[in-house]
Symmetry: C2
């Protein structure tokens, strides 16, 4: 089993805040930016799209091989129209991270 984190030096966690009436539209725009565009970029490892239970947020969690690969994708005009439409209906709190540590359940977890 390959742990994709091993080859992903950069984790990007982008939190979008949106009116609940626009949450579905924002999800559609971020899906269109990713599916067939961002997911073809050099150095793209994985991305998971999340909808908040309260309707007010959409968060994309993505792993990249390097900061340089991510920045190259951001210069690509392909996904840009979808991202611009997303930013017309949502605010955006970007974050670039490295993983400190992953925790799994302790063996004596009270299941």
């Amino acid at each position: 089993m390959t742990d994709s984190a091993d080859r992903a030096a950069l984790t990007v966690i982008n939190v979008f805040t949106v009116d609940p009436s626009n949450q579905d539209r924002l999800i559609d725009l971020l899906t269109r930016a990713t599916d067939g565009l961002v997911d073809r970029a050099a150095g793209f490892v994985s991305a998971t799209l999340h909808r908040s239970l309260d309707g007010t947020k959409v968060t994309m969690y993505a792993r990249w091989r390097s900061l340089e690969d991510y920045e190259a994708m951001r210069r690509d005009p392909g996904p840009r129209p979808f991202l611009e439409q997303a930013l017309a209906i949502a605010t955006f709190d970007p974050g670039m991270y490295e993983v400190v540590r992953t925790f799994l359940p302790k063996a004596d977890a009270a299941e």
Copy 2:
């Protein structure tokens, strides 16, 4: 290979904002809350702790079997002292989500 997301109905993405001089201390507090405490809770699936490259954020990304399991853990007094110390040096933007979709690299990615 088991995809842990299959049995995790809830994803919790908590973004802490902190003065860069306190980022290491915040990471230590969140580690102490998780290691041996939260990771023993019923329904805990996994958690990954992230430090932002700019020093101003720490984000915990965690998966839980259910919202009920997560809420039960939040009532547990064990991790609370560490979380209270964390909130004394950081602000906290919580988020509870469900996964919409995961993207992996397209086969013809330009590698």
